[in-house]
């Protein structure tokens, strides 16, 4: 203990010092950190602009040292399109929940992806509307109980959960689309790689990029954080398989 120790893991520069308002164990926080680390490592913080959604992460701008715009519910991809088109030299990303992106914002994300807008979307799929108190989302699992599906999601009336990554990757316009998880340390490490790649592709002006992250909502799922990560593995992952669905560097379209 004579020479001073080196920090090998610390709060990324792109993150602010604020304590988040997220519930204990909510993995929104992990995903925030992965985004911040990616910006730092690629040297993008200075020219990044984030677009916050409406959802639990609406206050994301309090946790970053990055310029931020706050979008109407679901419309972040349109704001990002507008910004990036007039400032193609900047790095633009949206951070959106599943209610935000897959429900009210369906039109905006499909069309931004289809036009091949050169921004990055971090899509946090926690199978529920967190902020408004746990209503059913388009991504809610079959039979999952929520405040608006008290007997469980009835697929005969509400249909099956929408797999956004699969759907968007059917578009012919080139894109990078991957689904990752943050429910074990190893998954977090892989999630980081995907997010960083998404930003790198944007940096290189390549394509639209989206990383869907399976996330937890212990509060509205009504189970504790550890159980929540397990539920992602056992209940969500089989339906929402992890992987890369579209990659301009893989040569598929």
């Amino acid at each position: 203990m004579t020479s001073s120790p080196t920090l090998i893991f610390k709060r990324p520069d792109a993150m602010s010092e604020n304590v988040t308002h997220y519930c204990p164990g909510c993995t929104h926080g992990v995903i925030h950190r992965l985004v911040a680390e990616s910006l730092d490592e690629l040297g993008l913080r200075d020219r990044a602009v984030g677009v916050a959604p409406v959802g639990c992460s609406v206050l994301i701008y309090n946790y970053f040292n990055v310029d931020f715009l706050e979008a109407p519910h679901g419309r972040a991809p349109a704001l990002a399109t507008g910004f990036k088109r007039v400032r193609p030299d900047m790095i633009v990303f949206t951070y959106q929940g599943d209610g935000d992106l897959a429900s009210i914002g369906m039109g905006e994300i499909v069309h931004a992806a289809n036009r091949g807008e050169k921004f990055t979307t971090i899509f946090v799929n926690n199978a529920i509307y967190g902020m408004t108190g746990g209503q059913m989302a388009p991504t809610t699992m079959p039979n999952q109980r929520t405040t608006t599906s008290p007997a469980g999601r009835d697929v005969n009336k509400a249909g099956f959960p929408i797999r956004m990554s699969e759907m968007l990757s059917t578009l012919k316009t080139p894109s990078y689309i991957a689904r990752v998880g943050v429910f074990t340390p190893m998954h977090i490490i892989n999630a980081k790689k995907a997010i960083k790649k998404a930003f790198r592709l944007q940096m290189e002006g390549k394509c639209f990029s989206m990383v869907e992250v399976l996330s937890t909502c212990p509060t509205n799922w009504g189970i504790n954080p550890i159980e929540s990560t397990k539920w992602v593995k056992t209940d969500m992952e089989p339906y929402f398989p992890l992987g890369v669905f579209s990659d301009p560097e893989r040569g598929d379209d």
Binding site: S16, R45, D46, R47, A48, V49, V51, A52, V58, L59, Y61, F64, N65, V66, D67, F68, L69, E70, A71, P72, R75, A78, L79, A80, T81, G82, F83, K84, R85, V86, R87, M90, G107, E108, H111
Partner: protein, 357 residues
Amino acid sequence: MAKRLMKGNEAIGEAAIAAGAPNYFAYPITPQSEVAEYLCWRLPEVDGVFVQAESEVAVGNMLFGASASGKRVFTTSSSPGISLMQETISYMAGAHLPVVFVNIMRGGPGLGGILPAQSDYFQATKGGGHGDYRIIVLAPSSVQEAVDMMLWAFDLAEKYLTPVMLIGDGMIGQMMESVEFPDKYREENNPDEIEWALTGAKGRKARICKSLFLNPEQLEENSFLLAEKYKKIKKAERRCELYNVKDDNKIIITSYGTMARICQTAIDELEGEGVSVGLFRPITLFPYPEEELYAEGSKKNIKCVLSVEMSTGQMVEDVERIMKGKKKIDFFGRTGGVVPSPDEVKDKVRKILRIKK
């Protein structure tokens, strides 16, 4: 610059370029699709941005994003399309962002028709979206005025950090008139010189462009800030035009946009018949030139203030409010795409004055 004969829709597009706002996001809708059809080839010539969006909801939100960059941005649409932008207009007002909307109004409600109307007065001037906000509303009555007001609209939007809406009817968009543009087009803004623009948090604290204030005191503060802004606008930016206003006027007509021109023709013809009528044409609909109207309308010689609109009667409510019961208020309107003729206006005036033809 030399005079050019131009369609209103195209002139509006060119004017935005002249105003240093070659950044256009839009969705097609009659009767203003020519703006996009003009700008889709014209903007690339000036390195501008042209995006045909997937919907008017997306248009509004693209503008929202683009405006936050500090550059000047705008769209054009028509009535139903403007309705779809109301949530976003409220957001942009709340976030203090400049932007210019052009509404080439058509007959409504609903899908309505595609012919000229002025039935979006309420929506534009009272705020069709939610919450305590207003927007500046300008009403040109000629193609040249549309051009001049586009230039002014961007300046106002930036001066007050607020959405500005130019409302014209289908005629303004479709007609060709001679028009002049400034000799020197304005340069585009340099975002780095704009203190509220999102330019990347390099060497400064991060900037946040938002309308959420979870703490009610802060939200109230923002609303009071907005109210303060509107007060300033009301004080400084009222504009109107008087036509044939004289001491022997029996009636003052209030009318705006192309409708006011039709009234002018009626007034000229009435003058020929020895009937003296003045025209009060608000150029800014918000802020409404209230003092000015009250001053003219309450003069001794005036018997009646007559609001003439291409609607079933919307501005007339403001006229009533402003005139404070001082004079009889009357209304004449055709709507749904029917454009009243000068003759109809004359008939109405004669009826009020009980003049047999």
